[in-house]
Amino acid sequence: MQQQAIITVKDLRTYFYSDKRCNKVLNGISFELYKGRTLCVVGESGCGKSVTASSIMQLLPKLSRIESGSITYHAPDGDIRIDLLERNGKEMRSLRGADIAMIFQDPMTALNPVYTIGYQIGENLKYHTTLDKDARRARTLELLTQMGISTPEKRIDQYPHEFSGGMRQRAMIAMAMSCNPKVLIADEPTTALDVTIQAQIFELMEKLKTEHDTAVMLITHDMGVVSELADDVAVMYMGNIVERGSVKEVLKHPAHPYTSALLRSIPVLHKGKNQNLQPIRGSTPDPYDRPKGCQFGPRCDFFCEKCNEMPPESPVCEGHSVRCWNADQVYGSAVKAGSESER
């Protein structure tokens, strides 16, 4: 099956500056987002997941910049190099909210408290469509109905504080989907919500993805979500994508020691209390005092001389690549273990 890439990120480096120190938050990451597919980006806090999203949206904080690499948006009428656009320039603004939309982590704080839900959704339409006032209201009502909000006629004129958490996130999604974006970036959209609401929100996103053929980039640290929703997965550690590929491949046969350690540290439902959970030893390094070479080196069981140099991204098999010198060993044991458990 030939996939159509909608966003290509190549060797992206984003650095943050503070007091003459430099935090190399993203240190050369590459990935693609495909039409109608969900890419889950996983990794621990501070590994650069959100910065990746912000880089694509050009919503980085003031004291940071894209140092090198490229972000290309394959628009219907020709490619656009997002990284070369002026941050708040006209072209970037015309992409934001229209072609590329974003949902944030905490719906409690992501909506402006002094405007009605209808106004805030309508604002998006006002700037990206030619609809007049009545048409915008009609479209907003339609969106709210699609998002499964009951009595939208009443809800549209209510303020965010009159909405529950799940409702607010639905409103956020309605806002994001208002212009039928090609790409939807969701930065931990359900972290602030309870589990039953989580499922509903994901169901909604899944439905929208298939209906509109949207490319979804879902940032999460929940492996359950990954196995449930992802088509592709990218595992990040300290500013690198250490492993990426289709979700089946990566979760079944992890080729990077971090991925495999991560999977071993997660409890599995229905396996009972006596699971052998292995936490990853050590702790994340200080971003201002990074280890040489492979960032995971000091915590890795497979550490060797070679690891003092950053390994390049190399393919393991079709659609599965990894940044590790010892990937063959890790991958081999995973495949072996996999085939044993199947037997």
Partner: protein, 322 residues
């Protein structure tokens, strides 16, 4: 809606006991100060030569010999009948006096309020948006100086520079004999209004800046940017609109002091307003006038806090009047 009505009624009813207590305290304070209006009416030499019998008669005539509580009740009774009393020093009806003083003070206050609100908000927003820049630092220093310099000093410096040295504007007063037309009148207003306005600007600016900084760090600002809105709309429609509330509260609480008249500015610029009259009335122990001005100030404070409550509820939908 019914809740709001109940709230308004409750607030208004609560004002009655507050007005009673506060006016009583002011009356009492006035009674405690040494001397009385009679002793102020005559110069000390005259006073020494006047027959004490006559002085006592005069005191009796003005009702100054009653215990102060009785006098307070009498004053209150007259007030409730709509009688504002007469100025002791010149016998003019206080009603007429206030009708003269109030427009002057209102004119000066509104001009100053306009200057400080517009200037303070604009500078505050710019300062917040350009945080850490040279302009921001300059404004911060200017704000500190503005807050620290006493009004009388700033006022006098302005008089020296703009009225005496440059001769651009009149030294003081509200009109000159034979003056007609709003424009000529405006010349008199510029200096006192600017001095009062600028001295109030510093506070508004600091408030607007910190409020704006706080708002611009909120998540919904990022949401607004993610929607692709132009920067002016993010700053003003989403940023400033939210940071407006504390600024409005500040301005609202300043309203009564402005309505009560700025004693310092009105005195320096010889502005024939309430503040100026209040100063003269207090030194002259002209208690009917002092009491009336005090009563209006008290009402202004209470109304202002009431107004602030309502404004906050209008500005922030999360606030409920209950």
């Amino acid at each position: 809606m019914r809740n709001t009505l109940q709230y308004v009624l409750k607030k208004l009813l609560l004002m009655i006991p507050m007005v009673l207590v506060i006016t009583f305290l002011i009356y009492w304070g006035l009674d405690l100060t040494p001397g009385d209006p009679i002793s102020y009416m005559f110069s000390p030499d005259q006073l020494a030569n006047i027959d004490p019998q006559k002085l006592a008669e005069m005191r009796e005539l003005y009702g100054l010999n009653d215990p102060f509580f009785i006098r307070y009740l009498k004053w209150l009774w007259q007030l409730l009948q709509g009688n504002f009393g007469y100025s002791i020093t010149n016998g003019v009806a206080i009603k007429d006096l206030l009708a003269q003083l109030f427009p002057a003070t209102l004119e000066l206050s509104l001009a100053a309020l306009l200057i400080s609100t517009v200037l303070g908000s604009v500078l505050g927003i710019l300062s917040a948006l350009k945080k850490g820049s040279v302009g921001d630092n300059l404004l911060t220093v200017a704000g500190m100086i503005g807050v620290s310099i006493p009004q009388f000093f700033f006022g006098m410096v302005c008089i020296v520079v703009f009225a005496l040295n440059l001769g651009w504007l009149p030294i003081g007063g509200r009109t000159a004999p034979g003056m007609t037309g709003a424009l000529a009148h405006l010349k008199f207003l510029i200096l006192p209004a600017s001095v009062l306005g600028i001295s109030l600007t510093a506070g508004v600016m600091r408030y607007a800046r910190s409020s704006m900084l706080d708002t611009m760090n909120k998540d919904y600002i990022k949401t607004a940017r993610a929607k692709g809105l132009p920067e002016w709309r993010v700053n003003l429609v989403h940023g400033f609109r939210v940071s407006l509330t504390p600024v409005v509260v500040l301005i609202g609480f300043r309203l009564p002091t402005l309505i009560g008249g700025s004693v310092v500015i009105e005195t320096i610029f010889q502005w024939p307003g309430i503040g100026n009259a209040f100063k003269t009335a207090v030194t002259g122990q002209n208690y009917p006038l002092v009491m009336m001005i005090a009563l209006f100030s008290v009402l202004a404070v209470l109304m202002a806090s009431f107004l602030v409550d309502i404004l906050t509820a209008i500005l922030d939908p999360r606030v409920k009047l209950e």
